[in-house]
Symmetry: C2
Subunit: 408 residues, 2 copies
């Protein structure tokens, strides 16, 4: 008799740094402590009104499989949205057969990494990175190679640093813009410069643009962040990841897509998609309705995030020893705390601290770095609560840091 053993990828699978403190938050709640959650990008903002109405009006008698690439209606609606927002710049508009609907942006990342990389290959990611890039690479037997970015440079991704890190097994660069966890936004020149490295070295350029409306720089407000789909010369190289999760505050709908003009890349991803049959059908119907969300509703949401950002950035930098640059997009920031080990401090907040019965859950940033020891004093903050709650969180953080410094 032989005990079956886990695969190495199973045994070594990284727990999500965003989610792995959840049991300690549950324990705090069980003690009657209210836990404000700034660890995860789950906004309190209501889901798109047209989307909610669509769920409630679903009238088919059979919730059937959809085509593996998603319904034609949703792919057509998405292509229309990309065109309306000028994502293609001076290039040809995106067509529905360049859009492959996936189970959230998550599955788009899985298919994209698999179509670019074999086991042992790697992807370049700007560090600190969206942690699930590593999760999917790991699942597929691939590595992430970090390209450093720095708070002092507002976490800007520099093309020359990307070039330096390319090695013989590198197959793609995977970047979010606007950035998670840093909030950094790539401008047109930044995209073109990194794109030039990709073209020079034969890499796919994968840009995760799920926060494109969440931009706060004066020249971008009311518009969208520049898209990799608009850069001439990247037609065969660019793959864009998208999702309805953030734009329509519908994280639980699990509808996203990948967009590419590279037909053989699309065909490979479609084969992967056929294996899992289809994305969820009712959610696709609701996502189609989400694309009809009134512009004023979306604009009000973005403005709410901008006000939240301003409150949180000012409040954090006002706390002794805490610092963060002002993010230009998304709804995250990376803050440096006056502690040696931010994970231990985050545990302390959940296990041993409350301010009048309330505490705070943050995401330790070390899990967003591959470089050993990097980010140990940092946390990611998702400013996804209303301003009174965020002000309360700032007070809890300040009191928590003071109490932590005075432990035995």
């Amino acid at each position: 008799m032989v005990q079956p053993s886990l695969s190495r990828r199973g045994a070594d699978a990284p727990a999500s740094p965003i989610r792995r403190l959840a049991p300690f938050a549950d324990a705090a709640r069980a003690r009657g402590v209210h836990v404000h959650q700034l660890n995860i990008g789950q906004p309190d903002i209501h889901t798109s009104s047209t989307m909610l109405a669509a769920y409630r009006s679903y009238s088919d008698d059979v919730v059937a499989y959809s085509p593996s690439q998603g319904t034609l209606a949703l792919r057509t609606a998405l292509a229309g949205y990309y065109g309306d927002n000028g994502l293609h710049g001076d290039l040809a508009p995106v067509t529905p057969d360049q859009v492959l609907v996936t189970v959230g942006g998550s599955e788009a990342l899985l298919f994209t990494i698999a179509a670019a990389c074999d086991p042992g290959d790697n992807i370049l990611v700007a560090e600190p990175y969206y942690t699930n890039y590593r999760g999917f690479a790991h699942l597929l037997g691939c590595d992430v190679v970090p390209v450093p970015t720095y708070a002092a440079e507002r976490f800007a991704v520099k093309a020359e640093r990307v070039r330096e890190r390319v090695n013989a097994r590198t197959r793609a660069v995977v970047l979010p813009s606007p950035g998670n966890p840093t909030g950094a936004v790539l401008d047109r020149k930044g995209l073109a410069d990194i794109g030039a490295v990709c073209v020079e070295r034969g890499l796919f350029m994968v840009v995760d643009e799920v926060y494109r409306e969440f931009v706060y720089r004066p020249d971008l407000v009311g518009s969208v962040s520049p898209s990799a789909l608009s850069v001439p010369g990247l037609e065969d190289v660019a793959v864009v990841i998208d999702s309805v999760s953030k734009r329509y505050s519908a994280c639980g709908a699990r509808v996203g897509c990948l967009v590419t003009r590279n037909a053989s890349f699309y065909a490979a991803c479609l084969c992967f998609a056929q294996a899992r049959l289809s994305p969820p059908t009712v959610d696709q119907f609701a996502a189609e309705a989400a694309l009809k969300t009134p512009a004023a509703e979306l604009r009000a949401n973005i403005q709410a995030y901008q006000r939240r950002r301003d409150v949180v950035v000012a409040g954090l930098n006002a706390i002794d020893g805490v610092s963060c640059p002002t993010p230009e997009g998304a709804f995250y920031l990376v803050a440096d705390l006056p502690v040696e080990d931010a994970e231990a401090f985050c545990r302390f907040l959940l296990d041993d601290f409350d301010l009048d019965g309330e505490t705070l859950m943050l995401a330790p940033a070390e899990g967003f770095y591959a470089t050993p020891g990097a980010g140990r004093s940092q946390v990611r903050v998702a400013y996804v609560l209303d301003i009174p709650a965020l002000e309360r969180c700032l007070a809890i953080l300040e009191a928590g840091l003071a109490a932590y410094a005075q432990r035995a």
Copy 2:
């Protein structure tokens, strides 16, 4: 400048034999021909009434992420359903923390193969196999090793043949019961015998039980097929795949799960699950309601399938040169046709044939075999239409075979 190239797994990704003829069916429809679809397990049966009502009553304002392992409410409801159906036999009942909710049974297979296998490892599958076992293994850099079964033995899976095929890189046996595409059902002894091989050789035993209510053998009617969760000695080895797709005729809901008593296996799968954040939230809410489907409604559906099976099996065996054994479960069968190349014949039905403006889409069975040349004269038939439509399909098949034999 270097053109980026697809990974080998991307370039070699197998198109689904169930779905790859879809463009030819679309072309037939564009010519005005009605295409009866027996190629895919998409029933015409209405989705569970309680489930449909739940979609229409969803009332949260924010469609938020759920926990990565699924909502506690759904996991508790699933554990209750397993208990009510006695899946555990004489062993301890399944608990909610042994249930991990996934995006359909598909994702449960992905996580399970990844937790068992590293790139280069293999899984044993009974041939003809559910084609997506191969799709997921391929995506993960793993191989499938076929264990042959034969129409003359009603496609029964024999433990001694499983044992013969185990090699140094084998990590799991993956079997559906009731079987897709064959309809074969493993009895308790069959499960125990194959389980003994797994225990002897240190393999996980993964049983895909999504059709457990679809059983037509007199001793099983009104009950469920025996579960791997009931076999003593397999506690650390057994992983069960489940889904609401077939039981509640809700293929598009994309809610499934994996069930295992092996805590470290569960923990590895949970890490994979965290990378994709969560299964769809509204669909989980609907799935919870599906578990309250009136028993009479489910029973009527199963009885409808049994009548369909009887019509199709009798009708197929009455056509000159066509033969199939009587399947004991699920809603598929594998039939042998009097043609050399069933894929060419399936294309002929779509491209060059109609009977009074109607034709038929079948799944060529060769894609369900890894052994070269095996299954070339076979098709998979999903008896998922009502009896008048099935009778029409039988007439189309008979006329199509006659026309095909008389081509130039």
